[in-house]
Structures are given as structure tokens and as C-alpha cells.
């Protein structure tokens, strides 16, 4: 539901260029997968999109405006290693609604509904710090989508978690996409996951987007040799 326009974006760490994108647009309600080898600049890009890093030069426009508090209110990001609050699972998921000043009844209803949908009722009252990796990541996802953000950024959300949890996560993400039509950007190492979830894929290499296209086209007929190498390698592995 939010479109993003990247213009002449660069990021330098200690005078070394880690990211350089001349122009790139993410349309409303797109579901974009970002793939590429380690060090390609994927994480740097999504952190900048999430407003957690400032560009060295260039700009990112969210529906034609620069980042601002109201924009922060309608987007979010899920990290590979999520930070859960030192409180119950329920309170973790309810937190974004609490700061959006929803009334307690509405919060209760919404959170419980999502908890049931994701099949995590059994841990609802558990302290979030005692959860396993897969459970923790599900809670982090629930906490991210509970307030129906217009832009959802996922940075390798299913790395190092069990297959069953991956399945639940993908189902939940998909359902959220179908119901609310947000813009979703997911960084993933898993080509199959990108194929399952995304409508478009961008392949990054050495800080640049070297190829971009519909996901099935990209995976089956990559035009760039770098992309081809990467995808074949990932599939064999």
C-alpha cells in the first residue's frame, strides 16, 4: 500500500562503498524478494528502507515524502534475531497496538484472533524470553503485522528455524498480504521461499541491484550470469 522510490542512494562505511542504487521503485502492494550473496548490501538496503540507517547520499521517498514519524507508524521490520520484550507473548504482540492507543478490548480481540490463527495459543502467557527460536520468530512476526503496516520489511526472518515454523510464518505472511495488500520486502537466502512468496525478485551483487523481474522468470530464466550462478548454486545446495 506504500510505494517507495529510491534515488541515487549510496552508503559508505569507512569510505568504502557498500551500496549504490541509482534508481529503483517499489510499487504499492508489491511483494519483493531480495536475494544475493553475503555482503551484497541486502541488509544495508533494508535497514535504510526501514529508516534505521541514514543514506550517505541520495534519498528514499515513501509516497513522495521523506521518512517522518507518521511514516514510521505505518511500517515495520522483522529482524533475523528479533528482540522480544521481557514480558508475556500476549503483551509483546499487543505492544504496537498499545502505543497506537487502541482500547484494551479491541487489543484483546485482535491479539487473540491472531494468536489463534498462528496456532500459538499454548505460549500466549509464557514469558517471551523463554521461547525457542521458531516460537520467538513467530511472535516477532505477529507483533509486526498486528497493526497492519502499509510496509513490512523482513530480514531473513526464517533463517535457522525449524521447517514447521517456517511454514506457519509463510502462511501468516501470505494471508496478511492477501487481506491487507501491504508492500512487503523480504531478504532471503532461500530461493524456494522467494519463489513461494514473492511476486518480484531483485538480485543484488556488490551493492548494486543487478537484476530485477517477476520471480518465476528470475528463478527459471535469469538473464544475468551472476544471478544464474547464484540461483543454481543455491538450488544445488
Amino acid at each position: 500500500m506504500m510505494n517507495l522510490t529510491i534515488k541515487n542512494l549510496t552508503k559508505y562505511y569507512n569510505k568504502q562503498c557498500v551500496l549504490s542504487i541509482d534508481a529503483f521503485t517499489i510499487e504499492r502492494s508489491s511483494f519483493l524478494g531480495i536475494i544475493g550473496p553475503n555482503g551484497a548490501g541486502k541488509s544495508t538496503l533494508v535497514k535504510m528502507l526501514a529508516g534505521l540507517e541514514t543514506p550517505s547520499s541520495g534519498e528514499i521517498l515513501y509516497e513522495k515524502s521523506l521518512i517522518s514519524p507518521p511514516i514510521y507508524k505505518s511500517m515495520t521490520m522483522v529482524f533475523q534475531k528479533p528482540y522480544l520484550l521481557r514480558t508475556s507473548v500476549f503483551n509483546n504482540i499487543a505492544y504496537p497496538l498499545k502505543i497506537r492507543k487502541l482500547n484494551p478490548k479491541a487489543i484483546d480481540k485482535k491479539v487473540n484472533h491472531l494468536i489463534v490463527e498462528m496456532g500459538i495459543e499454548s505460549i500466549k502467557n509464557q514469558n517471551a524470553w523463554t521461547l525457542s527460536g521458531g516460537e520467538a520468530q513467530k511472535v516477532a512476526l505477529a507483533r509486526a503485522i498486528i497493526f497492519e503496516p502499509a510496509l513490512l520489511i523482513l530480514d531473513e526472518p526464517t533463517a535457522n528455524i525449524d521447517p514447521a515454523s517456517i511454514l506457519t510464518m509463510e502462511k501468516t505472511i501470505n494471508k496478511f498480504y492477501q487481506q491487507s495488500a501491504p508492500s512487503i520486502i523480504i531478504v532471503t537466502h532461500n530461493i524456494q521461499q522467494a519463489k513461494r512468496l514473492c511476486k518480484e525478485i531483485a538480485f543484488m551483487h556488490q551493492g548494486k541491484i543487478v537484476e530485477f523481474g517477476k520471480s518465476s522468470d528470475m528463478i527459471h530464466h535469469p538473464s544475468n550470469p551472476l544471478t544464474k550462478n547464484f540461483i543454481e548454486g543455491e538450488i544445488i545446495l
Binding site: P69, M77, Y83, L85, Y95, I99, R143, F147
Partner: protein, 229 residues
């Protein structure tokens, strides 16, 4: 050795003696230490969190300063505070020398760096992550601060307990600025120092045991309070 055994007996007698002077000493100790710890907390928690999460010029110097202040000798603090509030000092006109107020001020100076340092340490470790989360979930500045306090509550609690422990057990500062005046500024530690000077070891040990016992009770209360969150 007999003094220690005698001390145990006397400690029990003291607690049940209903002696007004002893109770005054005990209550004043608790009051002064709790007041200074509470006021220190109000300064120390925000400072610790800000230093832990923000980058600014000379930050390393500030951190080193806080760490150094954590091990300030109480006598030095007492002496400096005394020189400020003494009759000839710049704040002599306040007339607070040898009063509980002076004791609280000296202890605030001792305790604030301890709580600040401990809160800073916790914030340094987790603060960045918490702030990042708050940002991605759309929290404003105030909500972020509250979230930091809530998430770092164990560090804050540890800081408060350590600060209180320092306050209730120190003797150098309260002796100098309070003067150990009987029925007015005499607290448990200054009473112990005085009794030692008088060679009444058993009574000194007895008050020491009462002090230990009270610290245990207050720490338990704080602990329960923190657990019940």
C-alpha cells in the same frame, strides 16, 4: 571472638529492646539511605540510559568519569560536601551542616554514579536493540524511553540495590557532614565507628548485625517488588 558471640545476643536484645534511641538510629539510617537512593535514581536512570544509547563527543571521557566516580571514597565526598556547606563555605548560609539533609546530599553524590554506571552498562548492551525495536514499531521518544526503562528494569533494580547498599553501609561521608550527633544525626554506621572507638566491640557487632538484617529485609522487599512486575 567473644565479642562476636556477645554481639549476636545483643543484636537480638537490641531489636526487641524498644529502646527509643536505638530505633531512632535504625530509622534514621533507613530514611537517609532510602531518600538518597531514591533521589539518585531520578537522576541516574535517565543519565545512564542517555549515555548508553546516544553518541556524542567526549562520550568515552564521560563514561570513564562515571566509572571513576563509582569508586569515590566516602570520606572525600564527605569532606568536599562539608567544605561547601560549612559556615565559611559557599552554601554555609543554608545552615544544613550536621543535619540529615546534609547526609542525604553527600550520599546522593556517592550513590548517583553507582546507579548511573550500572544502568549505563545494561543500556550499552541492550539499549541499541531496544531502541531499534521501538522505532520499527512506531514508538515516539517518550514511549521509547519508557520501553527502555521497562526492558532494563533488572539493571535498574541492580543499580538501585547496589546504590542503597553503598548508602546504608558507608560511614565516612555521613560521619563528616552529619557529625554523629546523638538523637539527631547518629546512624548505624557512625554508631558502630563510635562504639569501636570506645572499645565496646560487642555492641558494635550487634548494631552491625542489625544493619545486615535490615539490608536483607529491604533487599528482599525490593526483590519481590521487582519480581511481581
Amino acid at each position: 571472638m567473644e565479642a562476636i558471640l556477645d554481639g549476636f545476643k545483643k543484636a537480638i536484645e537490641l531489636l526487641f529492646s524498644l529502646d527509643a534511641e536505638i530505633y531512632h538510629i535504625i530509622l534514621l539510617s533507613i530514611f537517609v539511605s532510602l531518600a538518597s537512593t531514591l533521589i539518585s535514581t531520578l537522576f541516574a536512570v535517565p543519565i545512564g540510559i542517555i549515555v548508553g544509547t546516544k553518541n556524542f563527543p567526549l562520550k568515552r571521557l564521560v563514561v570513564r568519569f562515571i566509572y571513576t566516580m563509582m569508586s569515590l571514597p566516602p570520606v572525600i565526598v564527605g569532606l568536599v560536601v562539608f567544605l561547601f556547606i560549612a559556615r565559611r563555605g559557599p552554601f554555609g548560609y543554608l545552615g544544613i551542616v550536621f543535619t540529615p539533609t546534609a547526609m542525604i546530599i553527600a550520599q546522593i553524590i556517592l550513590v548517583t554514579p553507582i546507579i548511573t554506571g550500572i544502568v549505563y552498562n545494561g543500556t550499552k548492551e541492550k539499549g541499541e536493540e531496544i531502541k531499534r525495536l521501538a522505532k520499527t514499531l512506531g514508538a515516539n521518544r517518550l514511549e521509547t524511553l519508557f520501553l527502555l526503562i521497562k526492558e532494563l528494569r533488572i539493571n535498574i533494580f541492580t543499580g538501585i540495590v547496589s546504590g542503597y547498599g553503598r548508602a546504608i553501609s558507608e560511614v565516612g561521608a555521613v560521619m563528616i557532614v552529619g557529625g554523629n550527633i546523638r538523637g539527631h544525626t547518629r546512624v548505624m554506621t557512625t554508631a558502630i565507628a563510635m562504639l569501636r572507638n570506645q572499645g565496646d566491640y560487642a555492641m558494635a557487632i550487634a548494631i552491625g548485625l542489625v544493619l545486615l538484617f535490615l539490608s536483607f529485609i529491604i533487599n528482599s522487599l525490593l526483590y519481590n517488588f521487582q519480581q511481581g512486575d
